[in-house]
């Protein structure tokens, strides 16, 4: 029986992914502005109100924002899934994610229950709608191999992350009695090590061999890594709730399993990139390399933390967070964004106005990003942020560097949107004459 419903429709309109891509750097900018404004107060603890606000601006407003936009765009391509009402779905998810993320940041900063409630409703709406859309899309794909299984696993992790987050927010605003410390530790592990990393790993399986012309990822990895990581996260969660030495042993074993898994991915990907068949350099490659290096570093600190337990100073744990979130995750996401934005601009223009000779190629569009210089700025901003974990006096300078970085990224995405509109205007004028 053939999957007749597979109509192979073209990608959704460019406005679907672009609204996410245009908004995302603004949240990074807001997080950087918080770092600049609060400085050493923000760096005092991972759990300070300003640190929580900034972290959620990055995880929800930046990284989840880009990933939702990219998936709404990529899934029809990866699996040939036609989208139902892409415009309306994108509008709903985007609007609720924007206002929900901002509300949560306000809630942390002000401590006012109203903002927590607003964030609860809006973020449930955003991820609920997006999750249902993703479930529907994945069900339509009859054969997708490892890639689709990976996306299902990422979706499971998203559901767990959001559920824990909702319970934590309810506890913070209403004083609900919950095992706060355990959930506060599990929520970021499921969010970063689950939803975000599983999705990045899954996309890497497809995108790295295709665009860097590397060998495929080893079959053992594509079939085994994501399910194992998911299993380890489940074990880690159980370990937190089992009391006594048994619980500690489960937690430690799961942590070591996760560390081994992430490290395996970093090493294999690094090696594939080193042996790639395409010899021409591109910026995405630099972003991936830096990201993988930072992933390896954060995994090393996680190992120290698993072995040393509470004896590890707070600065080390902050540095783990820096290397993982604005480090690995941001590098990889920005690298992908700089690949996908010029391509979508070109693809939509070329499809709409073929043969007119007025559409710039992807390299022309990308050249205006000055991605090499921005990559250097990112490296300095990351180093400064890592140093701030030890010397909080540097944190305002780090905030300033990150503000410049985020604003630059925003200008780049807006430039691509501007090129799109300009070429479309010229094409329409020519067609009218």
């Amino acid at each position: 029986m053939l999957p007749i419903g597979l109509s192979f429709q073209q990608a959704p309109p460019i406005s679907v992914p672009f609204r996410f891509f245009i908004t995302a750097p603004l949240f990074l900018l807001a997080a950087a502005a918080l770092l600049f404004a609060y400085g050493p107060d923000l760096m005092a603890s991972r759990h300070s109100a300003a640190a929580l606000a900034a972290t959620h601006l990055v995880t929800l407003g930046f990284s989840s924002m880009v990933m939702c936009g990219a998936l709404l765009q990529l899934l029809p391509v990866l699996g040939g899934v036609p989208l139902g009402h892409p415009g309306r779905m994108a509008w709903l998810v985007h609007a609720s994610l924007v206002v929900g993320s901002a509300s949560l940041a306000f809630a942390f900063l002000s401590g006012r229950p109203l903002f927590f409630h607003l964030a609860l409703v809006l973020l449930t709406t955003a991820f609920g709608c997006f999750g249902l859309w993703l479930v529907g899309a994945l069900r339509k794909i009859r054969e997708g191999g490892a890639s689709i299984q990976g996306m299902r696993a990422a979706l499971v992790a998203l559901v767990v992350t959001v559920s824990f987050g909702l319970v934590l927010a309810a506890a913070r605003s209403n004083g609900l009695a919950i095992p706060y410390v355990a959930l506060a530790s599990l929520h970021p592990q499921w969010g970063l090590g689950g939803w975000t990393v599983l999705l990045i790993v899954d996309l890497a399986y497809q995108l790295i061999p295709m665009f860097q012309l590397t060998s495929p990822f080893p079959a053992r990895m594509t079939s085994g890594l994501i399910p194992s990581l998911l299993l380890m996260l489940v074990a880690k969660t159980l370990g937190e709730f089992v009391s006594g030495p048994a619980g500690e042993a489960i937690s430690l074993a799961a942590s070591l399993g996760l560390i081994a898994g992430y490290l395996w991915f970093a090493i294999v990907t690094w090696r594939l990139l080193a042996l790639r068949r395409r010899k021409v350099q591109d910026t995405t490659l630099q972003f991936w390399r830096l990201g993988l290096g930072l992933l390896a570093l954060s995994v090393c600190i996680a190992l120290l933390s698993a072995l040393a337990g509470d004896a590890l100073p707070e600065a080390w744990l902050q540095m783990l967070g820096v290397f993982a979130l604005p480090g690995f995750i941001l590098c990889v996401i920005q690298g992908m964004l700089y690949k996908i934005v010029p391509f979508l601009t070109w693809f939509h223009l070329q499809s709409a106005y073929p043969g007119m000779g007025i559409v710039p190629n992807v390299r022309d569009i990308h050249a205006r990003f000055h991605a090499d210089r921005q990559f250097a700025l990112l490296a300095v901003a990351l180093a400064m942020l890592a140093a701030s974990c030890w010397f909080p006096v540097l944190s305002r300078a780090a905030g300033l560097l990150w503000m410049v970085h985020a604003a630059w990224m925003e200008i780049n995405v807006l430039q691509a949107a501007h090129i799109f509109r300009k070429v479309r205007r010229v094409a329409r004028m020519r067609a009218a004459h």
């Binding site: 053939l2 999957p3 007749i4 597979l6 109509s7 192979f8 429709q9 073209q10 391509v77 990866l78 699996g79 040939g80 054969e143 997708g144 191999g145 890639s147 497809q206 295709m210 665009f211 012309l213 068949r277 395409r278 010899k279 021409v280 591109d282 690949k339 391509f343 070109w346 693809f347 070329q350 499809s351 073929p354 043969g355 190629n361 992807v362 390299r363 022309d364 990308h366």
Partner: protein, 148 residues
């Protein structure tokens, strides 16, 4: 079932290699080597398009009744790639490295997302619909290969 997928996917791999050689040669200003790599790349790609357009797509359309659907999208992307290929030839002839590399990167991205759709979706659908005809189809594709 998977012989058709294997055969056509191996051609994608081969075309990728030739593309990478041509692109690298231009980036390093080795024009004498770039020309034969580009010629080989264009010939292999054109042969692969013909194998699909003249053998696989018509057989699939007939077996599935899906005319004007996935195969039509693939044909239109082939024509976009043909335009880029001929632009590459033009830039190569005038030894314009910057323009060549720009068009090449555009082509690479288009080509890879096209291959992804074919390997993930279309070839799987086709190999199911055409399970009984694999030998005949492969023979026809090889005949086109001999002509090229």
């Amino acid at each position: 079932m998977s012989r058709i997928i294997q055969y056509l996917s191996a051609e994608h791999y081969q075309c990728d290699n030739l593309f990478a050689e041509a692109e690298c040669a231009v980036a390093e200003a080795r024009w004498e080597q770039a020309v034969p790599f580009y010629d080989q790349f264009r010939n292999e790609t054109e042969k692969h398009f013909r194998q699909e357009e003249e053998v696989l797509f018509p057989a699939f359309e007939q077996a599935s009744g899906l005319v004007g659907g996935p195969t039509e999208v693939m044909r239109s992307e082939h024509s976009q790639m043909r335009r880029l290929l001929s632009r590459l030839g033009h830039e190569l002839a005038s030894r314009n490295a910057e323009q060549f590399l720009g068009e090449a990167e555009t082509l690479l991205t288009l080509m890879q997302q096209h291959n992804l759709k074919e390997e993930n979706v279309l070839y799987r659908m086709a190999s199911q619909a055409l399970a009984g005809q694999a030998d005949i189809l492969l023979e026809k594709m090889r005949a086109l290969e001999a002509q090229a």
